[in-house]
Amino acid sequence: MYVAVKGGERAIENAHAWLDDARRGDRDVPDLVLDQIREQLALAVDRVMAEGALYDPDLAALALKQARGDVIEAVFLIRAFRTTLPRFGTSQPVDTGAMQIIRRISATYKDAPGGQVLGPTFDYTHRLLDFGLAQTPDIAAAPEAEISTASVPHILSHLNAEGLMQREDAGGPDVPDLTRAPLEFPAERPLRLQALTRGDEGFLLSLAYSTQRGYGRNHAFVGELRIGHVRVSAFLPELGFEIEFAEIMITECESVNQFQGSKTELAQFTRGYGLVFGQSERKAISMALVDRALRARELGEDLDGAPAQDEEFVLSHCDNIQSSGFLEHIKLPHYVDFQAELELIRKLRRDAAARQAATSQAAE
């Protein structure tokens, strides 16, 4: 008697038990604690927070542990948790000019008020495997300086003062919310930026790279890249004043791109903007370049059909939870549609063979 070769409840339960067991691995090796992930795999935690669109390093560390280090799976866990949280309101715009800086560089000016701060960067390290890290060496504390409390103005504000930088629309109080309304096209810039900031880092990196190689070319300078802590506050109508409720680390990138001007506007510089949770400068720079590429239409630039300039293409495909889910769904059973295809192919072959036979008979 035929036994249905279909996964049952027991198969699923056993598979999950196996997963739990494999996640733990060799029991002689100590179990990973979340503090270790949060402190020592901080950039992975940052990426999970950025693409998960939820700022919580402890939850991101938990997600990474549960996902066995699979970043997209961890992002998915965070997103699924995030949906269950109520939305109380909207924060005040974050003042990145008042950021407590740990890193701040400009590629357009040798020096500027506030100075250049390299911070904890991989830049200029030689990528030689440090075999010493295979042990557990004591790492000496880095040299420290006095914390500066002076605000560090944005580099591009100096260009702004000269009128060389295109003015940005400050936007109104009603910010659209990608997570509360379906994405519809054409999408305004605030919505595009929301999609990009939680978009897949690899996808945005490739798109940004494609603009550098000529697909929608628009040469970008890194006007400023800054990483640090900012305060987040909200206005509570019940209290009648603003309260601070969080301090978060973010990465901000402003690119400077030439704009030739048009009939109505003088030549000036335009901006691409990237803002990402945590320390994630590759993503922030990529985002700035893609943001600028997506402004091609509103700036009246030539559209040469480059993927990075096409908002439907970019926004419909940048979310790795959507794309990985749909990609992997083809693992699910498709017996029924496949069976229908099978019958169709057999029938088409039968019909064609019959026609061929009829033609050769007629020829004889």
Binding site: Y2, A4, V5, K6, G7, G8, E9, A11, I12, F76, R79, A80, R82, T83, T84, P86, T179, R180, A181, P182, L183, E184, F185, P186, E312, S316, I321, Q322, S324, G325, F326, L327, E328, H329, L332, P333, H334, Y335, V336, D337, Q339, A340, E341, L342, E343, L344, K347, L348, D351
Partner: protein
């Protein structure tokens, strides 16, 4: 499980979904954009259907979940367990007993009745998508009822293959107005969409679209006068388990020497027939 609201989603989200569903029922076949949420299962694995089911469920409901017509396929098991856990509703495998049925790729063989809701999981809700990738364009085409491209495509199939070479997700026209994707059901199931006494709801989570066929809606599979639509299945085969001649059959490979058998894809239909035969014999 008390950590989550009934049927997982919070009430505000369910209200948003119900508004979209009501609009979809009011304009049969029209794709209503809705603010799809991330669910604890991946996009592409039935999140649209799960959200629609969550919005429809009440504690008195009896839920059936099928995938490929079967209650025991892995994803059907997973979704059924999800609702048993977060909604605590009764579940069943019997089509006739269910008040809500969530399905992927099939319509049950047992005819549905008034008061039942059939929820389809939809991967790509736009029937014109593979003719025109841009949403801005396809929305305009629907608005203007500009379906020439689709008819040309079907005609090209006939010119090339002698018939419309579509085996599943065969496009339909709803009440003579919107062209609709019936989700990837085999075209064998298309006639069941027409004039069904049940409410049929379609949810596409990743694509943020809900659409509907209210009970007793006219649904025609696209065809030409001289090339009429036919609902096809495995030719000349009957179910090897229950002997059914009228059900959709899955082909199962039984050995490596070309042996194969055909069995009902609808496991409840098959099991019910086997039970009835056993009773008759006794």
């Amino acid at each position: 499980m008390t950590d989550y609201n009934f049927a997982y989603l919070d009430e505000a989200t369910k209200r948003m979904l119900r508004r979209a569903i009501l609009k979809a029922v009011a304009i049969p076949g029209y794709q209503v954009p809705f603010s799809s949420r991330e669910m604890p299962m991946p996009y592409g694995w039935g999140t649209g259907g799960v959200q629609v089911t969550a919005a429809c469920l009440v504690p008195e409901d009896t839920l059936k979940v099928i995938d490929q017509g079967a209650d025991d396929t892995t994803n059907a098991v997973s979704i059924r367990k999800f609702f048993a856990r977060v909604a605590g509703v009764e579940t069943t495998e019997a089509t006739a007993r269910a008040s809500v049925i969530q399905t992927r790729h099939r319509i049950p063989e047992t005819p549905l009745t008034e008061g039942q809701i059939l929820v389809f999981q939809v991967p790509i809700p736009e029937p014109l998508r593979f003719l025109e990738p841009r949403e801005t364009e396809t929305r305009t085409m629907h608005a203007l009822e500009d379906y020439g491209l689709m008819h040309v495509r079907l005609y090209e199939d006939i010119a090339k293959h002698g018939e419309i070479a579509r085996a599943y997700a065969y496009p339909v026209r709803v009440e003579g107005r919107y062209i609709m994707d019936p989700s990837p059901i085999p075209k064998f199931d298309n006639p069941k969409l027409d004039n069904s006494p049940a409410l049929q709801l379609f949810g596409a989570g990743r694509e943020c679209r809900i659409y509907a066929l209210p009970p007793y809606t006219r649904v025609e599979s696209l065809d030409f006068e001289d090339y009429p639509f036919t609902a096809s299945k495995a030719a000349g085969q009957v179910c090897a388990i229950c002997g059914a001649e009228d059900s959709y059959l899955d082909e199962v490979i039984t050995d490596d020497a070309g042996g194969r058998m055909f069995v009902c894809s609808d496991t409840d239909y098959c099991a019910t027939r086997v039970a009835a035969q056993a009773e008759d014999a006794a």
